[in-house]
């Protein structure tokens, strides 16, 4: 069916970097990364995941796209262009829908599942919001049994639960705007943590329960998975930029980019490993010797507060006991050893760094949690592309398991999408 090679592009407009990945899907559906274009965002153009300065972002994005196109020696296919969307405006809710199982045998079939999922995604959201993505949680049979794949089971009533992520329409379109400016009109927005989940989580983790935390420069997102479904998620507009800002305010050194750089290079941690009690920082008036304890304290307070906020938000869902595989930490924050330690201490579970998995292709320098999300977006895009192009029956006859549809472009036939939806 796919005779020609398919070019897929993933774009991330982050607080610290703009990253463009170009990938190629073989006819067998195998994905390899062709090229990687990245530019550092000018300081202050993106803050807390929100674009502040559209002109500078557009300029930087243009450079990143150019770099990626140059090294891939190909042009971006604008019909397969995916953009990661984040921001504190994003909310999640749980939708539920049910169908009465009809037919003589009362056996649940695919049509029942589609219908139940369709009902589950018909939720009321505030008028200025749009549904960004939805992931189904699981099915419940007769209100008694929770099950991930109910096909063939005998039941009277089938309930479906979907985790629906929605956000402010204008904020979402703000992410698409720089691409539109550059002539790519049909970018497809995807919630960035859904991409990260595709990029860094293994099937085993998704099945047995895991808490994925993506701590970027401007914003931290989390989502709890169990039984291959999402159960809780949230966005907190605190990232490593806040650590840098806290240090800058707390130490009276008005040089935010210096602290950003020190965080990226892990200067504080390596100094501590070397056993030095003071860290010398070039301040406004000469070099200052600052106690390592002070710096550690500032970082500790900020990060601990962040994870405690996530913990308290998750405690209301009563899903925390289900994270058998612990925490996967991705994004730039995962590179800070202190952040990993505190996450483990707050949640009392093991913590793993989420590097991109199943990475193949010419580009090798992507094996870092910094690229977990954008690589996942590429993978997610490839699956989404297959759904969009594969017609009535899913690739390799795979069953409807999971939906992930976008209501953003109204032209999509929603039913067809559900029928061909995928599993994480």
């Amino acid at each position: 069916m796919f005779k020609n090679r398919q070019i897929i592009t993933a774009v991330e407009i982050g607080t610290s970097k703009i990253c463009v990945l170009i990938g190629e899907a073989s006819p067998q559906g195998h994905l390899s990364v062709l090229s990687h274009g990245e530019t550092v965002v000018e300081p202050g153009a993106v803050l807390k995941g929100e674009i502040i300065d559209m002109d500078r972002v557009t300029k930087n994005l243009d450079e990143a796209i150019e770099k990626a196109e140059y090294s891939a020696d190909t042009e971006i296919d604008s019909s397969n262009l995916y953009i990661a969307v984040t921001g504190s405006h994003i909310r999640a809710m749980r939708g539920s829908g049910h169908v009465i199982v009809t037919g003589e045998s009362r056996k649940v079939n695919q049509e029942h599942m589609v219908e139940a999922l369709k009902n589950a995604t018909m939720v009321g959201i505030p008028p200025e919001c749009v549904i960004l993505n939805s992931i189904d949680g699981n099915f419940v049979l007769d209100g008694l049994r929770r099950i991930a794949d109910p096909e063939g089971q005998i039941a009277d009533k089938l309930e479906a639960f979907a985790h629906i992520i929605y956000g402010n329409r204008n904020c979402i379109e703000n992410f698409q705007a720089p691409l539109r400016e550059l002539g790519y009109d049909n970018s497809i927005p995807v919630f960035s943590l859904i991409s990260a989940a595709s990029g860094v989580l293994t099937d085993d983790e998704l099945k047995n329960g895991v808490l994925l935390i993506d701590m970027g420069a401007g914003i931290t997102e989390y989502m709890l998975f169990h039984d291959s479904g999402a159960h809780a998620s949230g966005v907190i507009a605190v990232g490593t930029d806040h650590i840098a800002n806290d240090l800058s305010v707390g130490l009276d050194i008005n040089n935010i980019s210096l602290f950003r750089k020190m965080l990226v290079n892990n200067t504080f941690h390596s100094k501590k490993e070397q056993g030095s009690a003071f860290i010398e920082i070039e301040g406004n008036i000469g070099t200052r010797k600052i106690p390592a304890v002070t710096i550690e304290k500032i970082i500790d307070l900020r990060v601990r507060e962040l994870f405690n906020l996530i913990l308290s938000q998750l405690q209301t869902t009563k899903m925390l006991p289900f994270i058998d595989r612990g925490i996967v930490l991705t994004g730039g924050g995962a590179l800070l050893p202190q952040v990993r330690d505190i996450a483990g201490a707050v949640f009392e579970t093991p913590v793993r760094v989420g590097n991109p998995i199943e990475l193949s292709g010419a580009v090798t320098n992507l094996k870092s949690p910094r690229y977990g999300m954008v690589f996942g977006l590429l993978k997610h895009g490839e699956r989404d592309r297959q759904i969009r192009y594969s017609g009535a029956s899913g690739p390799s006859g795979q069953m409807i398991r999971h939906i992930d549809r976008k209501l953003i472009s109204a032209s999509r036939e929603t039913l067809r999408l559900i029928k061909n939806a995928f599993k994480f």
């Binding site: 202050g44 803050l47 807390k48 929100e50 502040i52 504190s88 809710m93 018909m122 939720v123 009321g124 959201i125 505030p126 008028p127 200025e128 907190i236 507009a237 605190v238 930029d241 806040h242 800002n245 806290d246 800058s248 305010v249 707390g250 130490l251 009276d252 935010i256 003071f278 200052r288 010797k289 600052i290 106690p291 304890v293 002070t294 304290k297 500032i298 307070l301 900020r302 507060e305 906020l309 308290s312």
Partner: protein, 389 residues
Amino acid sequence: MAEETTDILAKATVLGLGSAGTKVMKELSLIGASSWLTIGAADTDKSSLDNSGLANTFPIGFEWTQGTGCGGNVIKGERAFAHPSRNVINDFIKESSLLIVAGGLGGGTATAGCSSIARTSRKLGIPSVFIVTLPFSFEGHSKRELADGGIKMLLPDADIVIAIPNDILYSSMPAHTPAEEAFRKSDIEIARAIMGIAEIIRCRNLLSADLSDFKNVLQKRKSVCCIGLGTAQRSEGENFCHAALERLMSSPLLGGPDSLKDIDAAILTLTGGPELNIGEVRHSLEAVQRYIGSEVRLIVGANTDPLYTGFVQITLVSVRYEFMPEIPSSEEKGELQDFTEQPSSDQPELPLLPVSKGIFANTSRNIVASQDLDIPTFLRQGVHLDKGK
């Protein structure tokens, strides 16, 4: 006329008082779906009644004002309403199940007339709703005092008083709006609010909400209430309910969607043609519910009417209590109530100490669990730091 087509139970009478009220009635009569309402206007000024083009007009006290109006004199207005000529108004309202009165306070006729009509309707046992506008701030202090006095006189007898400052009506329009259009638009806005409130008493056939619900919510005095209304044509496409909601949220009288976040109660009514289906009802009502949060006391009514064929109208009356009077339980009655602890809200700390947000100084607010996360944690927790040398 309307009486023949609609249920006698739901006969709503709308009366405009004074020249401002008459203008609102004129606009109301031009709205297509208003034909079930009985509309009338009363004024001491002959020319305003003549220009209205309404079927029921009641000249008041023409015998001794010679039809020239009260000229802002409340005593004159009171005299006019004491005159035998006002009996026609009593006849006009006596068979209705709801009386809605609109007028602009601060002049003579409406300021005096509202309280007079309120007394009559109380005597006749007709529930009454008063939608009155308050004068512009630039019209001066004396007019404002007149209007305040009018409201004080009105409150004991009226069931519901909704006072709308004129300043609000115009604050939502761009400054370059032609003056004539601006005044007309504000009249239309009030007329639409009247439509929305009148709709409440008819919500019997799908989901019931009625005037007693409305009274119940507003009974705590000192509540501030806003009205929003949105309509959309079915021909606007599949999302027409959403379009109606969006218009509702941008209604000038509602004060924007942000104002819905801190309300205490809301009355929501949805009216559509007979073709309205349950999915549409559910979808739009759920959307509003999510908008205003779960702690708000919400009263929902839905209704269908052949007059609304092809379009849908959503009305939201939001109520915010100025203070929360705890109703004491029977044992505690008479004892002094302690101030209950305020529920946690999205309000940041008062900036009593100069705190630095650094690079986040001019970004969107970041309040989670009453904490401004953009302020460094050590500052908020008051941790002392050794800054070195």
